[in-house]
């Protein structure tokens, strides 16, 4: 735990990527082979399923710190991170633990799951008393997840590659899926022989960049494949060794959530991997994504919901054919094979339609129609490109439709989390309705740090009322909000809900009375 806590501190003490990679390599060089896979496990953002309820964790920490729960809550709002708040509040410690990471995890952390609350409380208090401040913080992080130390999966892979000499691509592959952080896994992960056994393992997803410049800059339109950009769940459907696996991009094995796709996978030839988008789908068209959320939210999938919200996989790529990795073949070739595969598959696998156009102008026109089709715009993929892992510029572009935008007034503000703690960064905006500002959207992103500081100062100086952490502010600042979709929602005061709202611009040129009205926004839906 000492080494791991030190690693955490080292990662936390620099903002520079290279320094982070160096710190990771140093750690892997010294770490016991039992500890290292756990370190990787946590650093790439995995965590054991909820071991302790946050509320209880907070309650026990407050008790140990000798403060009332409300004061713990105030502290949490200032620090913006539960693990950190607890570490800052616990009584000062003179202890420090020499127990290695894997033993802390296997003997102290994981058993929490099988304990009752009284035992959990005991176990946590004991653990805190054995650790120094940094160890406590890291330990709390192991419980709550969300390391937020500026280390991505890619960075860990880079460090592992640097340390072991195994190619980054191979490591990326090995670190996907459902591996267990064991000694055996660690040896296999660093194995120089790159033929891997695990049948369920997906390939790293190829990700697209948003197109920012003019589309003409991509060159000849004939070198590109255009498809609709669907708003669903990105997934890989894998058929190997007579088994079917469905992986989401978040690397969850989600096969059991989509029984119709599992059945569809059964009809695929042995050794096939498809890349696509899971969509709620009925009568040849997508259902609103909210329907999908209804389905995802269910613990048990009854016949009724399966019937009401059936799904399909809109397949747009094939990564493995007859057990052979075909990612290096050009897209044109893969697309032709994909068409053959889908032709033979069941109705739950749908070929992603090609959007035809002889010129960029044709495609631009098609893109304008997107909204009517419930898609987010177009995807443009270079026909001669291989399937590359991760987000790289050049081969895949998302050409999204322009967002909706309205001018709205800042009415409430609340402190953010993590690096935005202690700053008012979470805002609620209102628009006019019969002479009143009704709250209509919350937004957190889109401002520069400089702007955030200015808004923060405004909030502090113009608070009219406080409700817990929420400040009601003088309605004065106007922002242009962009968002993707509008839906009727009886749960919202304004009667509408918008998707992905964010701040497009601070309209310092506008006064609150210039902001839009609810009627205007309702009107946008009818376009």
């Amino acid at each position: 735990m000492k080494d791991f806590a030190q690693l955490y501190t080292a990662l936390d003490e620099t903002t520079k990527t290279n320094a982070k990679v160096e710190a990771l390599v140093r750690y892997f060089c010294h770490a016991a082979p039992e500890d290292a896979p756990w370190a990787v496990h946590f650093l790439i953002g995995r965590r054991p399923k909820r071991l302790v309820e946050s509320r209880k964790l907070a309650g026990w920490a407050a008790e140990e710190a000798g403060i009332p729960d409300w004061l713990f809550g105030e502290c949490y709002h200032a620090a913006g991170d539960l693990a950190e708040t607890i570490a800052l509040l616990l009584p000062p410690s003179a202890a420090s633990s020499d127990l290695p990471l894997h033993r802390w995890v296997e003997e102290r952390l994981l058993p929490l799951r099988h304990m009752d609350d009284a035992q959990r409380r005991e176990a946590l208090l004991r653990a805190w008393r054995e650790m120094d401040d940094t160890q406590r913080f890291v330990w709390n992080k192991l419980i709550t997840g969300e390391f937020r130390v500026g280390v991505s999966r890619l960075l860990v892979i880079r460090a592992l590659a640097g340390f072991s000499g195994v190619k980054a691509e191979v490591l990326a592959h090995r670190l996907m899926g459902d591996w267990q952080p064991t000694l055996e896994f660690w040896r296999q992960a660093l194995e120089a022989d790159a033929r891997d056994a695990d049948v369920s393992r997906p390939y790293p997803f190829c990700l697209a960049y948003p197109l920012e410049g003019e589309v003409e800059s991509l060159g000849d339109v004939r070198e590109w494949l255009a498809e609709w950009k669907w708003d669903g769940i990105r997934a890989q459907l894998i058929r190997r060794s007579s088994q079917t696996f469905l992986w989401s991009r978040g690397e969850d094995l989600i096969t059991d959530r989509f029984p119709e796709l599992e059945r569809a996978g059964g009809l695929l030839p042995e050794g096939t991997v498809l890349d696509g988008e899971i969509l709620p789908w009925k009568d040849g068209a997508p259902l609103p994504f909210a329907q999908m959320q209804r389905r995802i939210g269910r613990k048990a999938l009854g016949a009724r919901i399966l019937n009401e919200v059936p799904v399909v996989l809109i397949a747009y790529d094939v990564l493995e054919l007859a057990g052979e990795d075909v990612r290096e073949r050009p897209l044109q070739w893969r697309r032709a094979r994909l068409e053959e595969v889908i032709a033979m598959a069941g109705s739950h696998l749908v070929l992603s339609p090609v959007v035809h156009g002889d010129s960029w102008e044709d495609l631009a026109n098609a893109r304008v129609e997107s909204r009517g089709r419930d898609v987010e715009g177009l995807m443009l993929k270079r026909l001669d490109s291989p399937y590359r892992p991760g987000r790289r510029r050049g081969d895949w572009w998302k050409w999204k439709i322009e967002p909706y935008s309205v001018d709205a007034v800042l009415i409430y503000a609340q402190p953010g989390n993590g690096r935005r703690a202690s700053l008012f960064t979470d805002y609620t905006f209102g628009v006019w309705d019969n002479g009143h500002l009704v709250p209509f959207a919350k937004a957190y992103s889109g401002l520069t740090d400089e702007e955030i500081r200015k808004v923060d100062a405004f909030v502090r100086g113009n608070t009219v009322e406080r409700f817990g952490p929420v400040r009601v502010v003088k309605p004065e600042l106007v922002f242009e909000l962009a968002f993707e979709g509008i839906q009727e929602s009886p749960r919202h005061k304004s009667g509408i809900a918008v998707r992905f709202p964010r701040m497009a611009r601070w309209r310092t040129d506008k006064k609150p009375q210039d902001a839009d009205t609810l009627d205007t926004i309702r009107g946008l839906t009818k376009k």
Partner: protein
């Protein structure tokens, strides 16, 4: 308003503690300097309001002066020279003697000002009478010349803390606990997550950081508040960084010079502007105000590691938001236990809480059975604490 309180029960309860003879016979109805009275709902006692909140900040009506006024007034009693406490434009200022030069420098440095402020100073503990009200200034331990304002009028004693800390600081006189009836306290770090490590440990880690940077061929750019904190660092680092070249930004250099003139021993420094063009920065420690972060001014030090010495660095999020390499938890304010200890030591029946986390501290004190209330501040003090 005065009528129902003709027997002054409040004063009598304190007779053992203060000499209240004059109070008991105070001709209450005699008009001019009549204190205002408020009744605390549900409590059978009155509180004499020696200070009240005015549009310009805390005002003593009987003495006709403001403490740290926000706008120009006739007479300002100043706790210390930081810009959220000492505002430009008042006719007369009263300040502790140790803080006079710093205040003068600060007030005349104001770019708006063609302003020669009339500043009077007084030794710590030496009383002055303003309109018959006894006022004395006592060390607050915040920066050189920082003071708590003790106001005594007709037996009632109020203390305005200004900003203060209980931690030791070789650059200024230590905080002096004062008994009083009402204590007006700051609460900049009024949450229990704010707990300061010992200054020795922090100074040692600053020195270690500088050493590690020097070995890695990087300059050490340490952001710090230019008045008070920078000098406290220079005093603490003097014998921990033997042979180091320490450079200062102009905003740091000016008060540093005043500290030296007043005999505070500090590490030697060179003004960055006075450094020759071929200066080797990679072995240097540079002290600069936080506003320099990310400005072109810092480019000359590349490559460098950036650090910030502030109580706010206790929270990771704050440091990471500023994209700094290192945060050093080093504050000139009281931490949570410091605030509680200081409040406890005053024996005050009533606590007014200002500057910072007012609401939680007030609630905490009330739950402990103390009479406490939040007092408005115009300046939250985050720019220059």
């Amino acid at each position: 308003m005065a009528a129902p309180l003709s027997r002054y029960p409040l004063y009598c309860t304190r007779a053992g503690e203060y000499n209240l003879t004059t109070v008991a016979f105070f001709p209450y109805t005699a008009a001019a300097a009549r204190p205002s009275i408020i009744l605390n709902a549900g409590k059978l006692r009155g509180v004499v309001l020696i200070l009240r909140q005015s549009d310009n900040g805390l005002f003593c009506e009987a003495g006709n002066f403001h403490v740290d006024p926000w706008e120009p007034v006739d007479r300002a009693v100043i706790t210390h020279a930081h810009s959220d406490h000492a505002r430009w434009g008042s006719k007369r200022y009263l300040v502790a003697r140790d803080g006079e030069r710093v205040l003068r420098q600060r007030l005349s440095a104001d770019p708006d000002a063609r302003f020669a402020p009339k500043i009077e100073s007084v030794e710590y503990g030496q009383p002055v009478f303003l309109n018959g009200v006894r006022v004395s200034l006592h060390p607050a331990g915040h920066i050189l010349g920082s003071a708590q304002v003790r106001i005594e009028h007709r037996g009632e004693v109020w203390v305005v803390s200004g900003d203060y800390k209980l931690q030791s600081d070789p650059t200024c006189a230590p905080f002096e606990p004062l008994r009083c009836h009402t204590f007006v306290t700051e609460s900049t770090f009024g949450l229990p997550i704010y707990r300061w490590p010992s200054s020795e440990n922090v100074l040692a880690s600053v020195a270690d950081w500088w050493r590690a940077n020097r070995e890695a061929g990087k300059a050490s750019l340490l952001l710090t508040y230019s008045l008070g904190k920078a000098q406290r660092l220079l005093a603490g680092l003097a014998n921990r960084m033997e042979g180091a070249a320490i450079y200062t930004h102009g905003a740091v250099e000016a008060p540093t010079e005043i500290y030296r003139q007043q005999g505070v021993p500090l590490a030697n420094t060179v003004h960055v502007a006075a450094a020759p063009p071929d200066t080797v920065w990679s072995t240097a420690l540079i002290l600069a105000p936080p506003s320099c972060r990310g400005t072109p001014w810092t480019r000359r030090f590349e490559p460098f590691s950036s650090g910030f010495a502030s109580g706010w660095m206790r929270i990771r999020g704050t440091r990471r938001r500023l994209s700094l390499d290192r945060g050093f938890v080093f504050s000139d304010h009281a931490d949570w236990s410091g605030l509680n200890e200081a409040i406890e030591a005053t024996g005050a029946e009533s606590v007014w809480v200002t500057h910072g986390y007012r609401t939680p501290l007030v609630r905490w004190l009330r739950e402990k059975g103390r009479d406490a209330r939040a007092v408005e501040t115009r300046f939250e003090g985050e720019a220059e604490s």
